[in-house]
Symmetry: C2
Subunit: 355 residues, 2 copies
């Protein structure tokens, strides 16, 4: 396929639409875009995100990247205006998949985002290694699906194809219910802190990690919870059962039951796939650090000084307390000189296999 | 008080006991230590963590830093052997506070830890800025409490004094129930992934953050859940009510109810106190980065190159997708040159007030 000749249309030139436009334009596509808010389309053109504003009836692919409330209209328009493939970027897929059985329509969900809103935050790099789920309907044409898979892959995404209902059930588990859980936990602590101010002083790293996503903006969740209501309610019921179960285990001082749950969780979390992991080449270096200014800068400088590339970094707080552990993923071939340099500065690094 | 003349005794020369010993020795104290496992005490002496092995009947303060099962015996011994203050370092306080009414005994809980086990991981820096809770009993002498507060502060800890029952209720909320919640969520996803392998490929940053603590070793949690059973069960019931409540809100498509919960959570999480925060001097810089090698090293190098000190760093993953946001806390006085340098390399940083 010669991308140079290809034409894309973007309906909704916000963060996701703009990022798709950039990725395709930089790959040689001609990109037309529009937005219900004309100033946003103007801005997209001004930033060089799109070639022109308007409708392109010759578009090979149209991406409908609009809020949930405008989605069905956008898809209908795109199917009428063009003879090409049409896809959307909504977070929930069953409803939209049921509404359109056109062979050229393939619902999609790029699991990519940014905390920046709007076309000014558009950046094709948000797709690097991101999962982009495609959920063909019963009517979707095989060739159209294959073509869209190729286009999405070309943006650097990891394409996963599955049925819409399955997508919605899975994101309820790994995204929607965790979000509602984090918010519930944060509210519980917050309500309690009203009567007991020191409570939040006792909140250490583990609590911070667990509630971090609750700091996100509520808006998108209103639509998500409405559209994926059924799956979310089902998973919340399952989760409530699990909480009930662990409550019974604790109330009964059932040590072996507790060991089972915690051991399964530990094993599963440790094995959680990560995009960065190539176990054969990489190794994890864990460095206990006090929560004190300059430690992280110091350690990353040290890595740079001894020419060690840091593939990933995170601060894993200990269950309790102020001390964190700086976790770096580095090349196995480079780790020895890094460990030596760390030890030379009084750090006590340990290493752990990623596999 | 002249610390040079003071004597401490450590029962249990593991990570916490060893770290206390180091902090006091480096402050001029004479430290005697022992451990039920003689090889651990030998190792502590070999490492210079303690001055000598044995019992010190002249100890001004004895720290009983042993596992829950050995705690009561250790405290009893220390009260019999010395005329000084006795404290312990267990994670749960009500039971031990009820068992001892000696005026010289003050239960304590250093909220400090490390993922490294044993005296080889001992490091006084784990106490830098950590909260150390003291939970005086009804029998505790005021002067003894004041003296111990001074000693603990001298190790760099932030001393919080409260009743034992209150301590146990608060840690159930901010530590024990969050841990059990993370484990339950991880198990739910893991069980589902058995039938549906792609599930975990869809697990993005938010899920990783929420389940991170579930990777911890189960052992200490068996004792904690047993000792703090009552408070944990109470909080699990409250939490189950919250889950039930949010389930109702979602099932009813109650947008205003959902907005209330999510907005409260967002506000509370954003305001969660952090040790690093001095809002008048610091500012948060948020830099979207693709999950790609070298980004973090590059940015911290850039900070170093323009002489900007990084007070704290974390990677906040977006709700979905591969892209993360590198969050740095830097001095307000230095932020402008850092932002300019970042923009010069094509990053799109935003800033946010900490207050």
């Amino acid at each position: 396929m010669n991308n140079k000749a290809r034409r894309a249309q973007i309906i909704g030139t916000g963060l996701i639409g703009g990022s798709v436009a950039l990725a395709l334009r930089n790959d040689g596509w001609h990109v037309t875009g529009r937005d219900i808010d004309e100033s946003r389309a103007d801005r997209a053109q001004e930033l060089g995100v799109i070639d022109e504003i308007g409708t392109d009836s010759d578009a090979d692919v149209t991406f409908v990247a609009v809020p949930a409330s405008a989605l069905e209209d956008g898809i209908t328009e795109a199917l009428q205006q063009t003879k090409g493939i049409v896809t959307d970027t909504g977070s929930v897929k069953t409803a939209v998949a049921r509404s359109f059985s056109d062979p050229r329509f393939i619902p999609g969900h790029p699991m990519a985002g940014s905390e920046q809103d709007g076309v000014d935050g558009a950046d094709q790099r948000i797709f690097d290694g991101a999962v982009w789920v495609l959920t063909p309907t019963e009517g979707t044409d095989d060739l159209a699906l294959r073509d869209l898979q190729t286009v999405v892959s070309s943006m650097g995404c990891d394409v996963v194809t599955m049925a819409p209902e399955r997508h919605d059930a899975l994101v309820a588990i790994v995204s929607h219910v965790p979000h509602l859980t984090a918010a519930s936990l944060m509210c519980l602590a917050d309500d309690r802190a009203l009567d007991d101010a020191p409570l939040l002083r006792l909140a250490a790293g583990g609590f911070r990690d667990m509630t971090r996503i609750a700091a996100g903006h509520p808006d998108i969740w209103l639509d998500i919870c409405e559209e994926n209501r059924e799956a979310i309610v089902t998973v919340l019921d399952e989760f409530a059962d699990r909480i009930h179960q662990i409550r019974g285990i604790v109330a009964d001082s059932d040590r072996s039951g507790l060991t089972n749950v915690l051991s399964q969780a530990r094993r599963a979390r440790t094995n959680l796939p990560s995009r960065y992991v190539r176990p054969q080449d990489l190794i994890e270096v864990r460095i206990p650090i006090p929560d004190r200014k300059g430690q992280i800068a110091n350690i990353t400088m040290l890595a740079a000084d001894c020419d060690v590339n840091v593939a990933d970094i995170e601060v894993a707080h200990s269950t309790e307390g102020a001390q964190g552990v700086l976790v770096l993923i580095v090349a196995r071939a480079e780790v020895q000189r890094f460990l030596a340099a760390l030890a030379g500065q009084g750090y006590k690094p340990t290493t752990r296999e990623l596999a």
